[in-house]
Structures are given as structure tokens and as C-alpha cells.
């Protein structure tokens, strides 16, 4: 495997980590937005509680993806940044407002406006960001994004817009599945499990329907990638479909730990299917990975640094997730 391909693989893995971890955080925000009725406040509290310790660490995966892209493929990054400036700027605004709203709500004690205000900001921003990121990813496949294609180009096809919606439904699905399990670990929130179970099932169905709409649009608006999709991505599609239906089945049977695994696998399979079809283009028609790569010595240095870095960070990440899984016990 060449250094270029290895770096691409690292970036895809990081993107998958971002989708699974931060994606669920965004989805939780979507449920915050949709929370209604007599449980609404307790749902919001469960969501905030589940997010607390992990959201900053989850969010660093995106920074890692950006940094790896501009370090490894600088000229493509310059071009992508120009072509996607509008959706990225909106995603960025969403990220800023969401993070700020989250801590202001948690620590503000009402000093800077009522909690409900920040709750709203948090929820809306959480829904906008995955939509914009979905649009950005899909736009790279269309071949319509170039350095001077204009700010609206990424929004100009049905495919990218539906992909944005798809991203939102997928994050909502992940979040609902994770929250089913979280709610069940604490007797105080156990009665919310059926609420999130219903939400998980609904989100899974909606995501399935949206993906059905997405496929023909892919062939219509992104012919190059669609062609490679037919050639290379069928196994991933099969995996995604099996795990998608599998998730619905295990959620139905109330096996929430297993549901986490199947849901995550389905999402990763979708991502890999897209990545396989996108390869070797970073932005179809304008930048391939190999042509835009930094010098070999720099790529090697990056990969070595990433190897050492991950060896330190992954165990720490694991400890973080472990310490905060399960109910709060008093310190040993």
C-alpha cells in the first residue's frame, strides 16, 4: 500500500469515528429539538447527561480529519475549501453555536438568558451541522465543485440536498439507539427506554426511505461515482442493508447493546461504500489523491506521527468511554 492510500485509509477511519461518535451527539441534538410532551424535559436532561464528558473528545475527530486532509493533500484542500465554502461555513457556525450553547446551558445558571434559549440554539445547530456536512460530502462526488464554481454550486442538485437529509436521519438513528441503552442503565430514566426505542425504529425507517430516494439521484447527479459504485460498492451496500434491517429487528427485540453494534456497522458500511466509489478522486473531476499529495517525506512523517499519536490516544479514549459507561457509582 502506498503512503497516499494509507493516509486515505486513516482519514476514512477518522471520518467513521467522527460519524459514529460525534454523529450520535448531533443526533441527540436533533432529538432535543423534537422532544415534545410530558417527558420532554427529562429527555433533554438524559441527552445532556450522555453528552457531557465525551462531546469535546468526539469533536476532535473532525479537526483531525481536516488537519490530515490539508497536511496530506494540500492542493486539494485549497480547492475543496473554496468550492465548499458556503456549506462549510454553515457547518462551522453550527459547530460553534452548538458547543457554546451546550456549556452555557450547563454552566450558565440562567445568567446569560434562560436555559430554554440555549437549549433551542443547541438543538437547531445540532441539526444544521450534519445536514451541511452531508451536502459537502455529496458535493465532492458530483464533479460540480471546482475552485470557481460559486458558493451555491454544492446546493444545486437534488442529490446533495437529499444526502444532507440522509446525514441528519442517520445521526438521529444512531443517537436514539445509543440513548435506548443509556436510559436503561439508570433506574431514574428507565421509563424513557420505550420512548427512545420508538424513536430509533422511526429513524431507522426514515433513513431507509431516504436512502432509497438517494440511490437514483446518485446515478443522475454523480455519474462518475455512480459508475464506480456499481463496480465496487455492492458488498458494502449489502452489508449496510443487512445491518440496517438487523438493527430494526434487534431493537424490536429490545437488545440494545447488540443494536449499537449493528447500527454502527450499517453506518460504517454506507461510509465505506461512498469512499470506495469516490476513490481515487478527492473532488471528482478536479483533484485526485495522488496528484494533490504532499511530498513523500512529509507523508511518511505524518504517518509515523499518527501511528505514535494513535497508540497514545486510542487507549485513553477507551478509558474515557469506559469510565462514563454505566451508572454513577461513588469513588472506590
Amino acid at each position: 500500500m502506498t503512503a497516499v492510500n494509507l493516509l486515505l485509509a486513516v482519514i476514512i477511519c477518522a471520518l467513521a469515528a467522527y460519524a459514529l461518535l460525534a454523529g450520535a451527539d448531533f443526533g441527540a441534538g436533533v432529538w432535543d429539538l423534537l422532544a415534545r410532551g410530558r417527558h420532554a424535559d427529562r429527555e433533554r436532561r438524559l441527552i445532556a447527561h450522555a453528552l457531557g464528558p465525551v462531546w469535546e473528545a468526539n469533536h476532535v475527530w473532525l479537526i483531525f480529519v481536516i488537519v490530515a486532509t490539508f497536511s496530506g493533500f494540500p492542493s486539494a484542500f485549497g480547492l475543496i475549501a473554496r468550492g465548499l465554502e458556503l456549506p462549510l461555513a454553515f457547518a462551522l457556525a453550527g459547530i460553534v453555536l452548538r458547543g457554546a450553547a451546550y456549556v452555557y446551558r450547563a454552566y450558565g445558571e440562567g445568567a446569560a438568558g434562560p436555559e430554554s434559549l440555549w437549549s433551542r440554539v443547541f438543538a437547531v445547530a445540532s441539526s444544521v451541522t450534519p445536514f451541511m456536512l452531508g451536502v459537502s460530502g455529496a458535493a465532492l462526488a458530483t464533479g460540480k465543485v471546482t475552485a470557481d464554481s460559486g458558493p451555491l454550486a454544492p446546493f444545486s442538485s437534488a442529490f446533495t440536498l437529499v444526502a444532507g437529509v440522509f446525514a441528519v436521519t442517520v445521526t438521529a438513528f444512531l443517537a436514539a439507539v445509543y440513548l435506548c441503552h443509556d436510559a436503561g442503565t439508570d433506574p431514574g430514566t428507565e421509563d424513557l427506554v420505550p420512548v427512545f426505542r420508538r424513536k430509533a425504529l422511526a429513524a431507522a425507517s426514515v433513513a431507509g426511505v431516504v436512502s432509497l430516494a438517494l440511490l437514483p439521484l446518485l446515478y443522475q447527479d454523480a455519474p462518475t461515482v455512480a459508475h464506480r459504485f456499481t463496480e465496487r460498492s455492492i458488498p458494502f451496500v449489502v452489508l449496510a442493508v443487512v445491518c440496517g434491517f438487523g438493527s430494526i429487528a434487534v431493537i424490536w427485540k429490545r437488545r440494545y447493546v447488540l443494536a449499537r453494534a449493528t447500527a454502527a456497522t450499517a453506518v460504517v458500511a454506507v461510509l465505506l461504500g461512498w469512499a470506495a466509489a469516490q476513490y481515487p478522486d478527492l473532488a471528482v473531476g478536479t483533484a485526485t489523491a495522488r496528484d494533490s499529495a504532499a511530498g513523500a517525506a512529509n507523508l511518511h512523517a505524518l504517518l509515523i506521527a499518527m501511528g505514535f499519536g494513535m497508540a497514545v490516544i486510542l487507549p485513553a479514549f477507551f478509558v474515557l468511554l469506559k469510565v462514563f459507561s454505566g451508572p454513577e457509582a461513588d469513588a472506590k
Partner: protein, 475 residues
């Protein structure tokens, strides 16, 4: 002029960096201070230390989040505003930025453990999670600033026809400016944190809340800012020598020196007039600059005239910013020296606490916060405006690097609005957090409440163990 894409991009970059850095310094400094306060609590079990720790960790949570989101904006902005710069040099800066990302990971992971782990970790394990936060915060400063110092002194890169053909991966980390500049920033972060913490508690005491909680908060902050001051002078001097060697025009702008000459004077303050080359209202020390740089009066210093007028940095701004920074640094250093003498004297006489807490001293202590912040921002203005018109010194101009997109005015307006809104909300929240010692503390310890204390309190408290601790911290 505002409204041109280039200017808007510059203003947006400067604004978002300045916003970020104002919060990021606390992400670097507070973990080190928390190591002290929580460590003291572990050893003494004293509720005052715990109360300080709890309060500061809440403040850190908010500032850390704002630092994180505003930092994310920066990493996007490099591409959005300076695409040509990233396209050409992104690969060169890859290593420090990648290492930086790992430092953020470590920070974010352990901050999560620290902030939310009070009940899930043993007290000792909880204290230990501060170390990776502090160390990775420190490393993140070092990494990011080496990237900036490479833009100032771009070494180790071969280019042909505007394309990088080979770049030493380690170049940013081993460049001549990397060490002094990044150490300088690290010390700046510690000084800013210490100064602002000292200022908060000094103001509390000036308003009459003279309890142990305020005295110790003040002491820890003040010691941090004052102890770093002398080191900062040495490191700043090293940084200036690197500038003299590799960016002579920047040094000339810092010192408002229009013409290359020996017996160069040192000009303190004043407004530089680019048309006449004269500095009005400045204080001129004959031979000063030659002496400082070369240790002899006839050393020749390169002036602004080594470059055609169009390529010279914005001297009036750079000169004033430089003198603001050095002036603030010297003032803090002066206070440090004075307090050191007073503390030695009071120790001889057996007067406690070693740091006097009467009004003038509290006011002086409170001023270290704004002074350090002003110096830090002015320092960045020196570095960045002094590099003009280059984004990468001698290789790429800011104009070449900038985006050509038309919508930057909107993005600038949105950035300013959102950031001002967030900052206003943040100020309200921090004010709410600054309510003095928690009521439980006063009740629990049976100690002094938040009411004003009589002036003899200082002397009487001499026997208190907590004052002995302040004294320990002061040393």
C-alpha cells in the same frame, strides 16, 4: 479598506485569532494552577483549596469549550480564507498541525474525565487527570506556535515555480524561531492566566471580601504571573535576537528605525510617521538599540530602508504594539522585583503574610491581569503585522494567499456578530460564577464569611495555618 476581499479576510483572521487566543491561554494556564490547588487540597484536606479548585474547574469548563469551538473555526478558516496558502504550504506545516491535533485529543479526553469524573474517580486519580491536560495544553501551544514561527522564518523548503518540490518534515519544529517563540507564548499564557486570576480575587478583596478563599486565590495567581515575568524577559530577548537576524525589517519596524546605521538609538513609545521617517512624542535613548543588540555602541542595525517603501511592514502599529508589550512586561517585572524585596523585608521582621494586602498592593496585583493580556495581544500584533506584506516571509505575500471569493464581507460580519454575542453571554456567566466563596465553606470551616473584615485581620491571621500556606506559595 474594509469591503475588499483581502482586507476582510485579514480582519476576520486577526479577529478570530485574537478571540481564540484570549480564551485559549486559560486552557493552557488553568490546568497548571489547578494542579497546585487540588494538590494542596489532597495533602491538607482544607476545604478552601477544594472550593477554589471547584470554582476554577467550572470556569475552565466554559473557557475550554469556547477555546475549542473558536479553534475549530481557525482550522476551517485557513482553508476558507487562505486557500492558496494552504494549497502550497499545508504539507510543510503538516507535522506540527498533526501533532497539535493529538494534543487536542489528549486534552479533550482528560478534560472530560476531569470535569465529569468527580464522583467516578478516586480523589487521587482525579488529580492525576490534570497532568495530561496541562502537559498536552502546553504541547499544543508549542506545536501551533512552531507553525507560526516557520511562517516567519521559512527554512528547509525547496520550491520551483511556486510549487514546493521538497520540504523537510521537521523544518517547522527545528527552525531558529521555534523554541524562543513557543516558549514565549507558553510563558505568556501562564502570565495571562495568573494575572487574571489574581485580578479577580484582588477585586473581590477590594470590595471587602477578605477571607482565606480570596487571599489564596489571589496568592496563587499573583505568584504565577510574577514568577514568569523575569523568565519572559529573557525569552523575549532571545526572540528579538532571532528577529534581528532573520527578519531585519520587522525589527526595524518594532524599533521605528527608518535608516540603516550604527549608533542606532532606542526609541521608546511615540507615533512613527512613515512619510518623514520621524517618531513624534517618542523618548530616544542614544546608542540604545546598538547596545542592546550588539553590546557595543557602533553596531550597525538594518533599518526599514533595506526594503522599498511598498514592502515595509506597518511600522506605526508594530512599533506601538511592541512598546506596549515590553512596557507591560517591564511593569510586571518591576512589581515582581518590588514585591520580592518587600517579602524578604517582611520575613526578616517576622511580618505575615509576606505579600502585603493593603489597597495599593491589591490594585497593583489586579492590574497584572489586564497588563498581561494586553502584552499578549500586542505581541501577536507585532509578530503578524511585522511580517507584512508576507504571509510566509520572503516566499508568499498575503495578497497571493487570500481567497478570491466574493462573500467574505458576509462571513466577516457574521463572525463578528456571533463572537460578540457569545462573548457577551460568557461575561454574564463568568460574573455569575464570581460570587465569592461558596456559603457552605464559611459555615463548614467556621471561618470568615463574605462580610468585610477589619483591617487588623491581616496581622491577626498571621498565626493561621492558611496564611503560612500563602507564604509557602509566595516563595
Amino acid at each position: 479598506m474594509l469591503g475588499s476581499t483581502l482586507t476582510d479576510a485579514r480582519v476576520q483572521t486577526g479577529f478570530s485569532l485574537a478571540f481564540h487566543i484570549v480564551f485559549a491561554v486559560f486552557g493552557v494556564g488553568l490546568p497548571w494552577l489547578l494542579i497546585v490547588t487540588e494538590g494542596r487540597w489532597l495533602r491538607t484536606g482544607d476545604a478552601v483549596w477544594l472550593a477554589l479548585t471547584r470554582k476554577w474547574s467550572r470556569v475552565m469548563a466554559v473557557l475550554f469549550a469556547i477555546g475549542a469551538v473558536s479553534g475549530t473555526v481557525l482550522s476551517f478558516e485557513f482553508g476558507l480564507l487562505w486557500p492558496a496558502f494552504m494549497a502550497r504550504y499545508g504539507g510543510v506545516l503538516g507535522l506540527p498541525f498533526t501533532l497539535e491535533a493529538f494534543a487536542f485529543f489528549a486534552e479533550a479526553i482528560f478534560v472530560g474525565l476531569y470535569l465529569y469524573g468527580w464522583k467516578r474517580l478516586s480523589p487521587r486519580a482525579h488529580w492525576l487527570t490534570l497532568w495530561p491536560i496541562a502537559i498536552s495544553g502546553t504541547l499544543s501551544t508549542l506545536f501551533i506556535v512552531t507553525a507560526n514561527s516557520w511562517m516567519n522564518v521559512p527554512t528547509g523548503v525547496k520550491e520551483v515555480g511556486g510549487k514546493v518540490v521538497s520540504a523537510e518534515p521537521l523544518a517547522p519544529l527545528t527552525g531558529p524561531g521555534a523554541l524562543p517563540e513557543s516558549l514565549h507564548m507558553l510563558l505568556a499564557a501562564i502570565m495571562c492566566t495568573g494575572g487574571v486570576v489574581a485580578a479577580v480575587y484582588a477585586v473581590g478583596m477590594l470590595r471587602g471580601r477578605r477571607d482565606a478563599y480570596h487571599r489564596r486565590g489571589f496568592g496563587v495567581g499573583l505568584v504565577a504571573v510574577l514568577a514568569a515575568a523575569p523568565v519572559q524577559l529573557v525569552v523575549g530577548d532571545l526572540a528579538a535576537r532571532v528577529v534581528e537576524k532573520y527578519q531585519p525589517a520587522k525589527l526595524a519596524a518594532m524599533e521605528a528605525l527608518p535608516h540603516t546605521r550604527d549608533h542606532a538609538p532606542l526609541t521608546l513609545g511615540g507615533i512613527y510617521d512613515p512619510d518623514t521617517g520621524k517618531t513624534r512624542f517618542g523618548l530616544e535613548i542614544p546608542d540604545g538599540l546598538s547596545l542592546l543588540t550588539g553590546f557595543r555602541t557602533d553596531k550597525t542595525i538594518r533599518g526599514l530602508d533595506i526594503l522599498p517603501a511598498k514592502e515595509q511592514p506597518a511600522t506605526p502599529v508594530v512599533h506601538l504594539a511592541f512598546d506596549t508589550m515590553v512596557g507591560a512586561g517591564m511593569a510586571i517585572l518591576g512589581l515582581a522585583a518590588l514585591l520580592a524585596v518587600v517579602a524578604v523585608w517582611r520575613r526578616r521582621k517576622g511580618v505575615r503574610p509576606l505579600i502585603p494586602l493593603s489597597r495599593p498592593w491589591l490594585v497593583a496585583g489586579a492590574l497584572t491581569g489586564p497588563a498581561a493580556m494586553a502584552a499578549m495581544l500586542a505581541g501577536w500584533e507585532v509578530t503578524e503585522a511585522g511580517r507584512q506584506p508576507w504571509i510566509v516571509y520572503g516566499r508568499m505575500t498575503v495578497r497571493e494567499a487570500a481567497t478570491t471569493s466574493g462573500g467574505i464581507g458576509w462571513s466577516l460580519a457574521a463572525t463578528v456578530l456571533v463572537y460578540l454575542g457569545l462573548a457577551a453571554a460568557l461575561v454574564l456567566i463568568l460574573r455569575r460564577l464570581a460570587t465569592g466563596a461558596p456559603p457552605s465553606l464559611a459555615a463548614e470551616a467556621g471561618g470568615p464569611g463574605p462580610e468585610p473584615q477589619d483591617p487588623d485581620e491581616d496581622a491577626r491571621a498571621a498565626q493561621d495555618s492558611e496564611t503560612a500556606e500563602l507564604e509557602g506559595a509566595a516563595r
